[in-house]
């Protein structure tokens, strides 16, 4: 009996789930889905949820977040790239959106997606990475670190969130700018990468500030420099690599909202206006403050320029890293 009831329930669920598509109605007339291509609890997810909640208030229509994870974000990004361009499927992407197609090109495989498959809606946050080392390592400044790396090429190791991942590319941009060689030990995600540097299994890590600040305050990690174009408010004494004479070592872990490229202009305009209001929502601001992620809002021309410059830097970085020969 129970089993039969359950079967019936499952059937009902299966029938109800696919919502019928209808044309020519005011936007939005049904729930919007924001795809976060990374697992819950990561930067993409923790940005997508407050944004979705705030947009829901502005649009007065449900906005949900779906974590479509896999292949370092490629699965979720690809799913939006080929989604119906009606404005009901959006993407909350991180910097890696510009890296993945380049890496695909490098390996000569058909790209999962390309950046021109997306129409930018807005940049929501852009946090520069910072260079941290275990507190018991000898380097007190970025200069000492770089000089030592120059003396011992390939001897200083660093962890990252994964090969060609954001944290890998940040460090590579520094290595290329300072003309040094470091030893890369990829990890399966940002969490394990932080654990590795805390345990002293690697010598350094480029990390988003929020996750390592508590360890810096507790004296376990030392911060040597930042990849931003200006110093971080939370770390006013830490110089940027730009100040230190490495202007190309610029990197942000940014989060932005995108739609499929062919989304009609009026719908995009409506979405852009909604996000503009959403980022001023006090609940949204409070949520981002708690994560110690400053909101960096850019739209239209400004976002486009930022996005293109960033994509250029990263593409160049990936090409210079090239294919990795492993032992």
């Amino acid at each position: 009996m129970l089993a039969r009831a359950l079967t019936v329930l499952a059937l009902i669920a299966a029938l109800v789930l696919p919502a019928p598509a209808t044309a020519q109605e005011p936007f939005p007339s049904r729930p919007i889905t924001v795809v976060a291509p990374f697992p819950p609890g990561g930067v993409a997810d923790l940005t997508a949820r407050p944004v979705a909640a705030a947009m829901e208030k502005v649009l007065k229509s449900p906005v949900g977040v779906v974590n479509k994870t896999g292949a370092a974000g490629a699965v979720g990004m690809q799913s939006v790239a080929v989604a119906k361009p009606d404005g009901y499927t959006l993407l909350l992407a991180l910097s890696s959106i510009s890296i993945i197609p380049e890496a695909d090109k490098l390996f000569g495989r058909p790209p999962a997606f390309t950046v021109d498959q997306f129409a930018p809606i807005a940049l929501i946050s852009a946090d520069p990475t910072i260079l941290v080392v275990p507190a018991d390592k000898p380097w007190k400044t970025a200069k000492e670190f770089i000089e030592d790396a120059r003396k011992r090429p390939g001897q200083i190791s660093y962890s990252s969130s994964g090969i060609y991942g954001t944290l890998h590319m940040a460090m590579e941009l520094l290595a290329q700018a300072a003309d040094i060689k470091l030893r890369h030990v990829p990890h399966a995600g940002g969490g394990p990468a932080v654990t590795a540097v805390l345990g002293g299994h690697v010598d350094a890590l480029a990390s988003g500030p929020a996750v390592v600040l508590p360890h810096i305050k507790a004296g376990k990690l030392r911060v040597l420099g930042g990849w931003g174009d200006r110093r971080l408010a939370a770390l006013p004494d830490v110089p940027t690599f730009k100040e230190l004479g490495y202007p190309t070592a610029e990197f942000y872990i940014w989060a932005g909202l995108f739609a499929p490229r062919a989304t009609p202009e009026p719908v995009l305009a409506r979405l852009r206006a909604a996000v503009r209001d959403a980022v001023n929502d006090p609940d949204f601001k409070a949520a981002m403050d708690k994560q110690e992620t400053p909101v960096t809002f850019k739209q239209g021309e400004e976002f486009q320029k930022f996005f293109e410059a960033d994509a250029r830097r990263l593409a160049e970085g990936v090409r210079k890293v090239g294919k990795i020969e492993t032992k």
Binding site: G41, L46, A53, A71, T195, P214, Q291
Partner: protein
């Protein structure tokens, strides 16, 4: 010590306040459901409910999420025992002997032992978490890739203990599992391996679809293919509880599983899965009657089920003491803490004593809640077996497909499950055991990553495994163990395993 007791008293005052108690209860109930549903594991459960906690008070939110985590560990055993479908990855081992017990009409006993074992493990390991968190966390950090690799070598040794029949067949299956584990992005170079243009395969074959397919679907197909329909097991009330002999058999494995699970759980990585594997192997190694494993050995349920619960507490050690995620689930919980404006890190215990001690106390309460919740449910769950197969099995099939799809919203996962179901059916007909395949799929990516990370750290020198004390010790113990088993093999010519294989041959 006195201070700890005082703190704990403060903690209980938090945990026993009606609202926190309510959320602990809600978390446990949801966790049990999540664990019972095939395919949906604790990670999916916590992830889905994380947004719902955004508006809550921080302590309540964390207490509820933790309840889901260990509740799922309790619930995960249910479908493994009753239907041979692992509710989540750490329950894979329970499918083997738990289901065998159920076939013998001891489903109630197996469920009760799993629940009590989980309770003991949960409670004892919280004591460990409470008293030892800071020093143990420092120890956990010393586990880098080489140490993790050495630990995983233990996991590989387990493969040899998996089978109850032919060693050659089981090693062949293990090799197949390791091969299947190679599918996906090469973490060190970024190459896609065996993905055939399917982006979803970049992450490899998920353990859950593979396990649900190989165990659950294969079982359903095999039953459907029988000429004489199997008789429905009608458990009597008297048989619901374990006999005294069964309790006696379960006691020591529960104790060992608890300690083992806690220690393994502390180590960063997907340790709760490993803990159940290692516990199974340990029990089989220590058992006086290893031949009963795979045919309904009580220890084969008690050990792994205690270990996976104990490992959940262990996993909280680095998370609470250092703010370091020891696996995907603690990572989500850390994120939840950040959302609530707490910066998890080394200062958490001193800065947020109410949260830390309230959390600890709520785990004591939560484990008790789960025991009270689960023991009466044993009767209900066992009665599911009364449902005639023509209704039960299609329903299970539907739930398996829905569950596996729901976790990642991926149809590819459903296909993997269905194909594994077909493969499992064929292998079963040919007399192969499928458990080693699942173990191979779990271990291959982990062991490969740890090995290659270690070599990246050492610039390609294998010496790194012997220069580091923990790694060296683990590897030497593993080597000794395999040599020892080789010795008996040579001396006696035929061990019990070979005898079993011969007996099987005689039968067929």
């Amino acid at each position: 010590m006195l201070e700890t007791l005082h703190n704990l008293a403060v903690g209980f005052s938090v945990a026993l306040s009606p609202s926190v108690l309510l959320y602990a209860f809600v978390g446990c109930v949801i966790g049990t459901l999540v664990g019972v549903l095939p395919g949906v594991g604790p990670l999916a459960g916590i992830s889905l409910l994380l947004p719902a906690t955004f508006g809550m008070d921080a302590t309540r939110a964390i207490v509820m999420l933790a309840g889901i985590y260990y509740g799922a560990m309790y619930g995960g055993s249910t479908t493994s025992i009753l239907m041979r479908i692992p509710g989540e990855a750490a329950s894979v081992m329970t499918c083997i002997d738990g289901y065998a017990m159920a076939r013998k009409g001891r489903a109630g006993a197996a469920l009760a032992i799993a629940a009590v074992g989980s309770y003991v493990a949960g409670t004892v390991s919280v004591v460990g978490l409470m008293l030892l968190a800071p020093p143990l966390a420092a120890f956990a950090l010393r586990f880098g890739p080489p140490e993790y690799f050495a630990l995983l070598v233990f996991g590989l040794l387990v493969l040899a203990y998996m089978s109850s029949g032919s060693m050659v067949k089981s090693l062949a299956m293990a090799a197949l599992g390791l091969l299947l584990g190679m599918v996906g992005i090469d973490q060190m170079s970024g190459y896609f391996r065996f993905a055939y243009g399917v982006v979803e395969l970049g992450d490899g074959l998920g353990v859950v679809p593979v396990a649900v397919g190989l165990f659950g679907l294969a079982e359903i197909l095999a039953t459907a293919g029988q000429r004489v329909p199997p008789t429905v097991i009608k458990p009597r009330l008297r048989e619901l509880l374990p006999s005294r002999a069964e309790w006696r058999e379960a006691a020591a494995p529960i104790g060992r599983g608890t300690v083992l699970g806690f220690v393994v759980g502390i180590i960063p990585g997907s340790a709760h899965v490993i803990s159940s594997f290692v516990s199974y192997a340990l029990e089989k190694k220590l058992s006086r009657r290893p031949e009963t494993f795979g045919h309904g050995a009580v220890a084969g349920v008690a050990g792994p089920e205690s270990a996976n619960n104990s490992a959940t507490s262990g996993a909280f050690v680095p998370m609470l003491a250092l703010g370091v995620p020891s696996g995907p689930i603690p990572a989500v919980m850390l994120a939840a803490m950040m959302v609530h404006g707490m910066s998890p890190g080394p200062m958490l215990i001193t800065q947020q004593p109410a949260l830390f001690w309230g959390f600890i106390a709520s785990m004591y309460v939560g484990n008790l809640v789960l025991l009270i919740l689960n023991l009466p449910l044993v009767g209900l769950f066992v009665n599911l077996l009364r449902v005639p197969y023509p209704y039960l099995y299609p329903a299970i099939l539907t739930f398996s497909i829905l569950g596996v799809y729901a976790v990642n919203g991926s149809v590819v996962d459903v296909w993997i499950m269905l194909m594994m179901g077909a493969l499992g059916y064929v292998l079963r007909k040919l007399g192969f055991e499928t458990a080693p395949i699942v173990l191979g799929v779990v271990l291959a990516p982990m062991i490969e990553l740890a090995l290659r990370q270690s070599l990246a750290m050492s610039d390609g020198h294998y010496g790194i495994f012997f220069q580091r004390p923990i790694a060296a010790t683990l590897l030497i113990v593993a080597l000794t163990m395999s040599l020892l088993s080789l010795r008996t093999f040579i001396r006696r010519g035929l061990d019990w395993r070979a005898r079993m294989a011969l007996a099987e041959k005689g039968e067929s």
